[in-house]
Structure formats: C-alpha cells, structure tokens
C-alpha cells in the first residue's frame, strides 16, 4: 500500500477485458484529488460501470494501475479488499436498502459490519440522518418512504462509516427532476464537508447546472475531461 501523492483516485493506462473477450476499458488514465466533485458521464456501454467496479475492487484491471484512497487494487489481497472498501461509500440507482430493517437499522447494520459497537452507532446515526434531512424517519421502513427519501437513506448509509470518497452510480436515475436536484444539492453539501465525490450520471441538465469537473467516457476511453459544462455528443442513458 503506497500513498499516491495528492490523488485519492488514480487510474494509469488502465485496460479491462472481461473473460468473454469484451474490452470495456481501453487505456484510461485519470486522477481525482481529495475533496473534488467529479461527474463521470457517457453513453450506455461506454465503460462507466466497469470503472466503478475497478474502483470498488470487484474486478482487477487487465493492464495498468488503479489506486483508491492509497490502495492499489491490482493484485490486492483478500484481506485488504474490505479495508479498501471501508474508505469508500457507494450509492446505487436502485437504493439497495434492506426492506425488513428500519432506516436506523439499515445504517446500524453497515456500521456493525465494519466493527462499530451499538454505542458508536447510537452516537453517529442521528447526526448522519440529520445531515440528509431524515432525522424524523429513523424508525420508518424503506417501503414507507418516497423514492427521494429512500435515496437519502442510501446516501446516509454511504456516509455513516465516514468514507474518504463516495461513488454514486446514477443516484438520480429513479427520481423526478425536482427530487434529483435536491439530491444533487445534498451531494454537493456533503462534498463541501470534505468528502471526495464521484457521481456517474447521464442527466445532462444536472451536469451543466453544477459546473463541476466532467469526465466523459465513450467506448472505454476518456474523450473529454474539463470543468464546467458537459462537452461532447449527446449522452444516452
């Protein structure tokens, strides 16, 4: 484990070919610095999902180097994968909440999974729920909440273990435009508190509205990396 200077995420000449021969990533290099807010955009099949899998250690690069919060995911040992994942918070489009657990228990469950005590959970969870505006929903079940609220719970869950970086995979995909905007505001607020944010999305309006760094991927390559508005062809979901 070697700290890469001033980059929390670094991909260097990364190529990824699946076992069935599909070449999903073709020589990508990029660096994301601590505290940055980055949109990762691109059409379906462009390689965005593979990049997320590379960052979370679900797959290893075929060629090149991936570093996440100081961990190199190439040849990473089985023991180090959980340690690397503890530095990340992941938000999914379909929320992935456990329906039979309350909001509080959904959060306590992931704290417990990394070794926190019930006491630590009691101290941390109310703070995080307040941050996402759900302090009065602690004892509700996910199916009693709206889509926007469920995604806020998912954000709280990603935040609760205090990760260095949050990766959000199409977090607004199941929300209406108004809820999407609220949610993105929340992610920006969390980013301003110091957490690095990587948001995968295909919503051009949202990307343009926030004026953050935008990395566009197409056919497994970075075709644009600039700050401000989305530049390039039309983005398809």
């Amino acid at each position: 484990m070697v700290e890469s200077e001033s980059a929390v995420i670094e991909l260097k000449d990364v190529e990824m070919t699946y076992e069935n021969g599909t070449k999903a990533v073709r020589g990508i290099s990029l660096r994301i610095r601590p505290g940055e807010f980055v949109f990762l955009v691109g059409p379906s099949g462009s390689g965005k999902s593979t990049i997320i899998k590379l960052l979370t250690g679900e797959v290893e690069p075929s060629v090149g180097r991936v570093r996440v919060n100081g961990f190199s995911t190439r040849n990473i040992s089985e023991r180090q994968i959980p340690l690397m994942r503890r530095t990340l918070g992941v938000i999914f489009q379909d929320f992935r909440l456990i329906d039979k657990k309350t909001v509080y228990d959904n959060l306590a469950f992931v704290m417990r999974a990394v070794g926190a005590s019930a006491r630590e959970s009691r101290q941390r969870i109310p703070y995080v729920l307040e941050l996402v505006g759900l302090e009065d929903k602690a004892h509700s079940y996910p199916n009693e909440l709206s889509g926007g609220e469920q995604q806020r719970v998912a954000i709280a869950r990603a935040l609760v273990n205090n990760p260095d970086t949050i990766i959000a995979d199409e977090p607004t995909g199941n929300l209406d435009p108004e809820r999407s905007l609220e949610l993105m505001d929340l992610l920006v607020k969390i980013n301003e508190l110091g957490t690095t944010m990587v948001v995968v999305t295909h919503e051009k309006d949202l990307v343009d509205r926030f004026g953050k760094r935008v990395i566009t991927i197409d056919s497994g390559r970075v075709i644009n990396d600039s700050v401000g508005r989305y530049v390039g062809g039309h983005i398809h979901g």
Binding site: M84, V90, F109, A113
Partner: protein, 295 residues
C-alpha cells in the same frame, strides 16, 4: 472476533434459524433421521462385536496328547502351549474328565454308560485371544512335540469373522453415505437462508465487512441446527435402544443375546452424535456460504 460481535453473531444465527422455521425444522429433522440411522447401525455393530468377543472367549481348541507322554512331559507340554502366541489359557482335561463331560452331554443314551474312558485321550483345552489368527495358532500347536491331534472349528471362526467384517463395512459405508446426505441437506437449508439474504451480504461486502464477519452468523446457525438435531437424536436413540433391549431380553428365541446396556454406551454415543451433528451443521453452512464470499 470482536468482543461485542459474539452476541451479535449468536443473535443473527438464532434469528436466521427462526425466520426460516420450516427449513430449520426440515434440517433438524433430517439430521435427527440420519443420526438415528447411523447410530442404530453403529449400535448393532457394537453389539455384534460384543457378541463375537463372547464367542471368541468361548471358542476352544482341543489339543490331544500322545499316548506315550509321561506326567512330567504333560506338565512341560502345558508350559510350552501356554507360551504359544495368541493362546490365553491352557487347561488339562484327563480322559476320565472328558468321558464325564461326554456323558453329561448325552444323559439319555444308556449304552454310552459302559464306555471305557481309555478310548479317549488326555487333552488340553486352549482358549485363544484373536479368532483371526486361529489358523496360525492351530498350526503351531499341531507342530508341538507330544500333540497327537487337534480339534478346532476354524470354519466356524472364519464365518464369525466374515460376518463381523461385512457388518463393519456395511456400517461404515452407510455412515459415510448418511453423513454426506445430512451435510448436503443442511447445506441446502442454509443456502436458502443465504439466498434470501444475498442483498444484505452484497451490502456488507460493499461497505467492507470481512468474510469472517459475514460467515459467522451462518456458522452459528449451522452449529445450532446440528446441535439441536444431535440432542434430539440422542434421546430418541436412547429410547429406541432401551425398547429394543427390552424386546430382546423378553424374547425366548433371542435370550442368548446379551445386549450391551446403554449405560455403558451413552458417553461415546453422546459424544459421537454431538460431534457429527455439529460437523454436519457447520460444514453444511460453510459450504453454503462459500460462493457468496468470492468477490
């Protein structure tokens, strides 16, 4: 394992067990059935062995002494035979004693009463330790100077040994098959639990839970299923054994069979059932959870 995690693992294991009540019931039922069948065959084998050991005790070789041996030579011969490997005891029987025994066996045959003991020979009754070595022992005794002949039921001994060996092989094969069946069923039961919780497992992995943390609740579930199954099986086995023992002892045709009392067997039975049940439970759960821990 953190100190505050132990209670959590046990709680999760227990709640898994109750939330899949029917499958848990099925898994315990199958474990009980398999252990009972394994136990019954093993106990039959134990009793068959005990019976054979008794027969070994009763199995005697008669070694006839040559007519021209003096009393001193007979005494020396007794010592020589006592030193033959596998011979546990040597008893001298005079021709008069042999005749008395013969007449005792045929009390109603009047015409035997006038027989002269001189028609019989003095002999030694030899007891042996291991029936499987009877052929070698008989050969050594036959070659001893002063022994004029031998009477040994080698074929009968061979038959006993064959019965015991076949019983042992059948017993071991059945135990192995039933063990694998139990392991498979418990594994499938826990696989259903894990399938039901695959989303939780995926989230735990994504937030950085270690494989051990994910695995332990399932291991406890398997442990509890196995332990419960073996406890129930033990008491059922006890009841069954006592019922069969009672049946054997009151049956006129089976009175010659001495059933080993359960009081002599309960400790090894409890230990074996406990270990087998826990092994089946824990082994089954480890096999079920394995595929969810690979990425």
């Amino acid at each position: 394992m953190g100190k505050h995690n132990f209670g959590y693992f046990v709680h999760e294991g227990l709640s898994n067990m109750f939330s899949h009540g029917f499958m848990s019931f099925a898994a315990i039922g199958i474990t009980v059935a398999c252990l009972l069948i394994m136990g019954t065959f093993s106990l039959v084998a134990v009793n068959a062995n005990a019976l054979l050991a008794d027969l070994e005790q009763e199995n005697e070789i008669l070694a006839f002494i040559e007519e021209d041996c003096t009393d001193q030579q007979i005494k020396a011969l007794e010592k020589t035979l006592g030193a033959v490997p596998n011979v546990t005891s040597v008893t001298f029987i005079s021709r008069e004693e042999a005749m008395e025994k013969f007449l005792e066996d045929y009390p109603d045959e009047e015409y035997f009463k006038d027989l002269d003991p001189e028609i019989l020979r003095d002999r030694f009754s030899l007891k042996i330790d291991d029936l499987e070595l009877i052929s070698q022992t008989v050969e050594q005794v036959r070659n001893t100077q002063g022994i004029g002949g031998i009477n040994a039921y080698e074929d009968v001994a061979g038959g006993f040994i064959t019965v015991r060996n076949v019983a042992s092989v059948v017993c071991i094969a059945l135990i192995a098959i039933l063990f694998i069946v139990s392991l498979f069923i418990i594994s499938n039961t826990i696989r259903l639990t894990t399938f039901d919780r695959r989303e939780e497992i995926a989230i735990m992995r994504m937030v950085g839970a270690t494989n051990g943390f994910i695995r332990w609740p399932f291991v406890y579930e398997g442990f509890l299923l196995g332990l419960l199954g073996s406890t129930i099986a033990f008491f059922l086995q006890w009841m069954l054994y006592e019922a069969v023992s009672k049946g054997v002892s009151t049956n006129d045709a089976l009175q010659l069979i001495d059933v080993v009392p359960f009081q002599q067997l309960w400790k090894p039975v409890a230990l074996t059932f406990g270990c087998a049940g826990i092994l089946i439970g824990v082994g089954g759960s480890l096999s079920a959870i394995r595929k969810y821990l690979q990425v």
